[in-house]
Structures are given as C-alpha cells and as structure tokens.
C-alpha cells in the first residue's frame, strides 16, 4: 500500500496530524482563555482569596492584640506599613483578616442568590403558564423592596453574624438572576433543538437540566461576578452600621465604623479600609465586564 511516494505522503500526513502543531498547547490554551483579561483585577481577586484562606500565615501581626503604646501610628515602613488603629493594632493585619468576611459574604451570598434565581428563572421560563405568572409576581414584589432597609431590619432582628448576612443578602438579590435568565430561557425554548426534544418526549424537567441550563451558564457567570461587587458593598454597609462580625475580629466596614471617632486625628484609619473595599469591588466589576465581553453569545462558549 505504501510506496516511496507514500513516505512523502506519510511525512505530510505526519506533519498534518502532529498533535503538537494542530491542537493548542496548554499555554496557548490559557492565553486564549485569558485574552484581554484585566490583569490587576484578577491579581487582586487572587490576593483577596489568599488572604481569606491563609490569613494567619500572611498577616505580620495578630489582628486582636492591642498595644496601648502604639495607638494611632501613621503608616511607616519600619513597623506598621499601613499604620495602627485606636487600639494600636496593625491595620494591615486587620485588613488581611477582614478580607475573610468580605470574600466569604461576597462569594456565598452570590452563590445563594444565583442558585435561587437560576432555579426560579429556569422553572419560570420552561414551565410557563400560571407557574410563571406567580413566580414573576413574587419576583416583582422582591424587586420593589428597598433592599438595604430590609437587609438592615432582617440582620438586626436575626442577630449579626456572617451566616445571617450571607442568608439575608442572598435572599434579597436573586431577582436579577431570575429575570435575566428567564429572558434567556424564553429565547432558548423557541429554538429547534428544544422543540425536537419536546417532540421526542423528554420531560420538561429533563429539558431544563440537560438542554437549557448548560446554555445559560455564561450569562450566569457574568451576572454572578457583577453581583459580587454589590454584595461586598452591602456587607460593608451593614458592618458600618454595627451589624457585622462580633468584636474583636475585624471586617472592613466595622473598621471604618471604629475610625469615625478619630477622623480628626488620623487620615489612614478612615481611608485605608475603604480603599480595600473599593479595590475588591472594582476588581469584581472589571472581571465581570471582561467576562461579559468574552462570553458574548456571538462568540464561542467557554
């Protein structure tokens, strides 16, 4: 079968089918995935995650140990890079530990909201009819709630703790997910492959899980990232109003709350924790924007 000309062909075929030339390398793949990514934002998000997981190893000082001799020290390169607070505690260390609260609340409350919202959006869109109408009526009601006021009320009554804040924020932010995803679902179910599945006898539930859901993941991802920023802001607002983690553990919002009394005496105490919040929210928002551009339906799926 193979002659000498075949060996050329072989060579040619070999060259064509050399996996290293045709399929992308891992680094090429990674570069592709992260094309145009906001580098600083992703970096900061990674830093925040590190702080959350490894705070005791990263923080230079204990976040709890007071030092009456070192009260309200300005930032200095020798001992305290970001200065000390009104108890002489290192602000950098408290910032690192405080990241735990912001990240935990940001991630888990959005997880909760996304789960609830996706479920409602899916069911609403796929099943339609009176189920849809009732669910949308409930969505409208939640949308009309002044969410910060309700969050404040609920956390105040339930008691301030990270878990309660996660629950409350999660249960007040699912509506955006539900609405947008329902819209996506409505568009999807007009498509042929769904109709075919229906005709073939698949149950609605099955269609929902197997065909619809995988196609809304992109939107879900984008929405989630954008919502994280808002969750962090709401959490810090609640902490600022006194409904945050119990003392002496820090959260960025409660640090700002404590700093108010000293606003005439220091600039770093009321400014630095706010910068941390802003950077985290900004990073989440920019990442969300990038994801939205990247995962545009007119391009390919992730």
């Amino acid at each position: 079968m193979l002659s000498s000309s075949d060996s050329n062909a072989e060579l040619a075929v070999d060259q064509l089918t050399d996996t290293r030339d045709v399929l992308p390398t891992l680094s090429q793949r990674l570069r592709d995935v992260f094309r145009g990514a906001p580098k600083f934002s992703l970096f900061f998000l990674a830093v925040a995650l590190m702080c959350t997981l490894f705070a005791p190893y990263i923080a230079p000082y204990s976040p709890v140990s007071t030092s009456p001799a070192n009260i309200l020290q300005p930032p200095n390169l020798s001992a305290h890079w970001l200065g000390t607070d009104n108890q002489g505690r290192d602000i950098l260390s408290r910032l690192i530990y405080g990241a735990q609260t912001s990240v935990k609340v940001g991630v888990f409350s959005v997880l909760l909201a996304a789960t609830a919202g996706t479920l409602i959006g899916l069911v609403s869109g796929v099943f339609g009819g009176w189920i849809d109408r009732i669910l949308m009526r409930i969505t409208d009601m939640f949308l009309a709630l002044p969410y910060l006021m309700v969050a404040l009320t609920a956390v105040s009554l339930l008691g301030a703790s990270v878990l309660n804040v996660i629950l409350v924020i999660g249960l007040l932010r699912w509506m955006g997910f539900a609405r947008v995803l329902r819209g996506e679902v409505l568009k999807l179910i007009e498509m042929d492959f769904i109709r075919l599945a229906l005709v073939a006898g698949s149950s609605r539930t099955r269609i929902m899980m197997k065909h619809v859901f995988p196609n809304i993941i992109n939107t879900l991802l984008v929405l989630s990232t954008l919502e994280i920023g808002l969750a962090v802001i709401v959490e810090s607002s609640l902490s600022f109003l006194g409904l945050g983690v119990p003392r002496p553990m820090p959260s960025w919002g409660s640090m700002l709350r404590d700093s108010q009394q000293y606003i005439y005496l220091t600039w770093w105490f009321p400014v630095i924790p706010g910068i941390a919040i802003t950077l985290l929210v900004m990073s989440a928002n920019l990442t969300g924007d990038w994801l939205r551009d990247r995962l545009d339906p007119t391009r390919r799926q992730l």
Binding site: S62, V64, S65, T66, P68, A69, I71, L72, N86, Q87, G88, S156, G159, A160, G242, P246, R247, P248, M249, D258, Q260, Q261, Y262, I263, Y264, L265
Partner: protein
C-alpha cells in the same frame, strides 16, 4: 462675715484678728476651689454679661427617649428638666436644693414637702399640692385607664414600692406616706441628682396622651416650641417663669435648641464650625488636646484659652466585668415564690446549657481573667486618660463609697493569672462568647471589649464579643432570663447614692443576682436603715461580701466631656453627675 472689733481696745487683739482673717480667707479659698458656685461664676446682667441672648444650641448624643409625656415615658427623658418640674433638685455644687418644693422633712413615716406658693404652670394654672398629688398618683399608675393611658409608667413599680399614700395638708404642703422607712426616697423619686421623675401639668395630662402632645405646657423655665422627635427640640423661654432661686431662675437664652447627633465626629464638626455652642459627650480622643476649665481656673468657667474649651463630669458611669454562670446556678437553686423589695414575684431561674459545666464556674479562672486585664493601660491607652481604674462597685464620690476602695483597682498580674489557669486545668485556655451594649453618655465600652479580648488572648482564651442594642441588653438582665452568660460587660450610669444602686442588683430589675442569702439579708436591712453612718457601715460590709464572691469585677469609672465654644462664658454644673444638667444656667457672651 468679718469680725470687726467695736473699739480698738488693745493691740493684742490685732494678731488674733489677723490670724482669724487669714484662716477665714484660707478656708474661703479652699471653698472657692471645691465649691466655686455661685461666687466664682459670672452673673447674668453684671460685668457686661447680657441679661438675655437669643439662642443657645446644644448637640447631644442622646437625651433619653424621644417622648414628651411624663406619664407615658418608656424610659428616662432628660428634656423633662427644662419644661417640666421636679420636686427638688441638685444645685451645681451637688447639694439638695429647692425646686417645686422649697423644703422637705423626712421621718420614718414619710416625707413632708413645702410647695413654693408662687409655682404655676405655663398655662396659668397653679402648681399646688393638689397637682403634686395628682402627679404622684399618676406615677403609681392610678390614672392609667381614666386618663387614657395604656400602661403604668416605666418606673411605676418604683413609685409603688416607696409611696403608700399622698395627703394634701394645705395648698402648699403635702405629706407623702412611705411604705415603712425609706431613707433613699429622695434619690429614687425626688429627682435629686439622678432625676427619674418629671412632674407635669395634671390638667393637660388628664386629657390623655394624644391631647397632651398638642400642648405639653409644663411648669419649668422653658416651653416647647418645636418638637421633631428623635432629631431636635426647640425650647422657648417662659417669660413668667416663677422660679427665682440662685440655681433655678429665668434662663439667659431666649431660645434653646437641642440636637441629637449620634456620630461623635459630626458633633465635633458642629462645634468647630460654631453651628452649636455646646457638645455633650465629646470623644475622649478629641478632648485630649483641648483646654480644660478645671486646669485653667474655675471648673465650668471659660478659661479663655482658645475657641473651644471643656468641662468634665468626673465619674458619670462605670463598667464592670460580670460572670453570669455562677449567678444563674445560685439563683436557680433558690426556692420558688420569692418576692423582691417592691413585692414583685421573682420568676424561676433557669440555667443556660453553656453554664452547666463552664470554666468560669471555677473561682480561680475568674480571678485569673480579672488579673490578666491591665486596667491602667486601658485607661491611659485607648481611653486617652479619661477613664479611671476602680476597685469599688460604688461610684466615686457617691454616698457609701469608700475613697480608698474606689481608687484601688485589682492588680495586673499576668504571671499569677497564668498560674491560676494552669492550676484550674485550663492551661491552654478555651473559647468564650461575651456580651455588651453601648449606652449614650458612657464612652469607651467597645474599646474595653477589644482590650480585654487582647488581654485574654495571652491566657489562650479566645474571645468574641457580641454587641446588643441598649434596650435588648438591659432586658437581658431580667431575673430568670439573665441571658448574658458566660461573661458580660455591665455598665452603670452614675448613682449618687449607693443605697439606691444596690437595689438594682436585686431580683427582678436589671443587673440582678449578686446576692447570696447572707448578702440578701444585709440588703433588706440596709434599705430600711435610717441613720446615714450606720447605712454607710453596712454598705461597706455588703460591698466586701459581693466583691468577695469574685463574680463581678469593677473595671473603670468613665468620665464625660462637655465641650464649649468660646461664646459660652460659663456652665455651672455638678462635678459628679450622670446627665446633662443645668443648661438653663449657661451664660453666653452675646
């Protein structure tokens, strides 16, 4: 009064006279420093001080509840000082002084008050003995339903505990029969110092709560012009105010406005920009750099050293560390059916799950935890020198407190603390949740919580402090409920009379359960003891017993700073005081 010999009889008298004069002057000087009011203070209408100015503006963090009706208060409301009456009051030296009543005589049967015959309410109706009677009965809850009031007053229990009946003897004389000897009556009900009862216009009060709001005309130096509940109140001087005492008379300021501004930096900003003349409760960190009238001259008089000056209430409250588990266990073991001093049934105590086997049940652990707190460092550091470590349950300068006990806090000994923990078997520490609440006019509590958490970290005790709203926190101390276990930070507003304070430790009221049987007996004895010296002696005994249980540990007494702009000439007020007082005596430059 100078002693002048009528005839220059003999030169021998001269040195005697000189000595005598010297002694007089010396003692007068001593008096001037400790009791400078009214002598060392400017006077209205003299030396260029205007008789009347347009407005005085004050920013406070809170004035108590935002309610005007003295029969419908859910808690204290100090605005009442300015438009309503008190039976008697404190003058700026802290002495009992005349108000509605000009004098009081107390026996074991009761008290006789002589009412000022000139007293009248702002709508012209006379404020006579009959009006006093109606008020007292109102406090006791006797007019609740007929007046359209839903519930008895927040401190009706107190009124009913003390008052048996009220009898009008003449329009200017009234006899209050007490339920047995009540030596602490004036501090509990009279309004002296820790004012708790404000007397209003019965005609208006009997119209019912909604009607009263339409015209809350009282009998005080000010009338209410504008009321924005929870935010601000504007008072207008009552031009025919009947009071003409040195300590209580027509104020200089025609209008007085009081604002509530919770954020301390905002209060200071208002002061610096001269939007307000006085700030009540300036944060310690900010007060530190400002000129104090106490240091520069006469306490309460503008020292003229800058555009802002301060005056400090020295001991307007205190903080104590209390371990609730031993209290719960002791109280739960007591028989059911007990009543407290007001005759109110004491509910059955339960023991929280967490207390059943808690490390703090061991006295050594409690002692160790106390020893680990360096109270001086707390006061000098995060409290900027404005709190004082104390060793007494009673407030500095109060009746029944012993100065040497007050100024002798428990020591700081970390080594001994560690040894005790090890001996008790907790070398590696344990985790614990504590509770506290913040109260207006009592700064420094969150800082103390953080400081304590840091101190205990060194013993391996991992602390989290839960903060509660004030109303929640107070209610959590109710007998049988006592939620704040295993440890809490009890805060006290100042009590001028320790005999009053000890009843708060009892039974159904707040901060309960300090007493074992022996101490309880002592307590009931004290509140019926008429002789002041005897009472003081017994109070000391009680205090020693309570402190000996090592369940509650006094930490510090806090001070409160009033700050003034340069426009304010003087504000004579009591050195030891819990609340903003005598704003009607403030004198302004223009």
């Amino acid at each position: 009064m100078l002693y002048r010999p009528s005839k220059p009889k003999s030169l021998l008298l001269l040195p005697v006279i000189a000595l005598f004069l010297a002694t007089l002057m010396f003692s007068h000087q001593v008096q001037a420093q400790s009791k400078p009011w009214p002598d060392a203070f400017p006077k209205k209408g003299a030396d260029g001080v205007p008789k009347s100015v347009d407005k005085l503006t004050i920013a406070v963090d809170s004035w108590g509840t935002s309610e005007l009706n003295p029969w419908a208060l859910t808690s204290v409301s100090f605005l009442g000082d300015y438009y309503n009456l008190r039976l008697m009051m404190q003058d700026p030296n802290g002495d009992l002084a005349a108000a509605w009543a000009t004098e009081v005589n107390q026996t074991e049967e009761g008290l006789t008050f002589k009412i000022n015959p000139r007293a009248h309410f702002q709508d012209g109706t006379p404020a006579d003995a009959e009006a006093v009677k109606m008020n007292l009965e109102g406090f006791m809850g006797k007019h609740v339903e007929q007046g359209g009031y839903e519930a008895p007053l927040w401190n009706s229990a107190k009124a009913n505990e003390f008052v048996e009946s009220v009898k009008v003897i003449s329009p200017s004389e009234i006899f209050v029969k007490t339920k047995g000897p009540k030596p602490t009556f004036m501090w509990n009900l009279g309004g002296n110092g820790y004012h708790l009862f404000w007397y209003g216009n019965p005609t208006q009060l009997m119209k019912g709560p909604q009607e009263y709001l339409q015209n809350p005309a009282g009998g005080g130096p000010y009338a209410i012009k504008k009321w924005d509940a929870g935010n601000r109140i504007v008072f207008e001087r009552s031009e025919d105010f009947w009071g003409d005492y040195p300590h209580w008379h027509k104020p200089q300021a025609k209008a007085m406005e009081i604002l509530t501004v919770k954020e301390p930096a905002a209060r200071f900003a208002l002061l610096k920009s001269q939007q307000v003349d006085i700030v009540y409760n300036l944060p310690w960190a900010l007060a530190k750099g400002l000129p104090r009238s106490e240091d520069e001259g006469v306490r309460g008089v503008n020292p003229g050293k800058g555009d802002v000056w301060t005056q400090t209430y020295k001991a307007n409250g205190m903080l104590a560390l209390t371990f609730g588990c031993p209290i719960q266990i002791r109280e739960a073991a007591k028989p059911e059916g007990r009543v407290d001093q007001a005759g109110v049934k004491i509910p059955k105590w339960t023991v929280a799950e967490i207390c059943k086997d808690h490390p703090t049940l061991d006295k050594r652990v409690r002692r160790a935890l106390n020893l680990a707190i360096d109270k001086r460092a707390l006061s000098q550091g995060p409290h900027f020198g404005f709190s004082t470590p104390i060793g007494s349950l009673f407030h500095a300068g109060s009746f029944g407190s012993r100065p040497d006990k007050v100024s002798d806090p428990s020591p700081f000994d970390l080594a001994e603390a560690k040894r005790l923990m090890k001996e008790a078997g907790y070398e590696n520490g344990f985790s614990m949740e504590g509770h506290f609440g913040q109260f207006a006019g009592r700064p420094g509590i969150p800082e103390a919580a953080d400081f304590i958490a840091s101190s205990w970290e060194k013993l391996g005790v991992k602390m989290t402090w839960k903060e509660h709203d004030p109303s929640d926190f107070v209610r959590g101390f109710r007998a049988g409920v006592f939620s704040w276990v295993p440890v809490n930070l009890q805060t006290w507003g100042r009590q001028d009379h320790s005999g009053v304070q000890i009843s708060w430790y009892h039974a159904t009221s707040g901060y309960v359960g300090m007493y074992n049987d022996k101490i309880e007996k002592l307590y009931f004895d004290i509140i019926a003891t008429f002789d002041p010296e005897e009472m003081k002696r017994k109070l000391a005994l009680l205090e020693d017993e309570v402190l000996g249980l090592e369940e509650t540990f006094p930490l510090y007494g806090m001070s409160l700073v009033n700050a003034y702009t340069d426009r304010v000439l003087s504000h004579p007020t009591v050195e030891f005081s819990p609340h903003f007082k005598h704003y009607d005596l403030v004198l302004l430059k223009k």
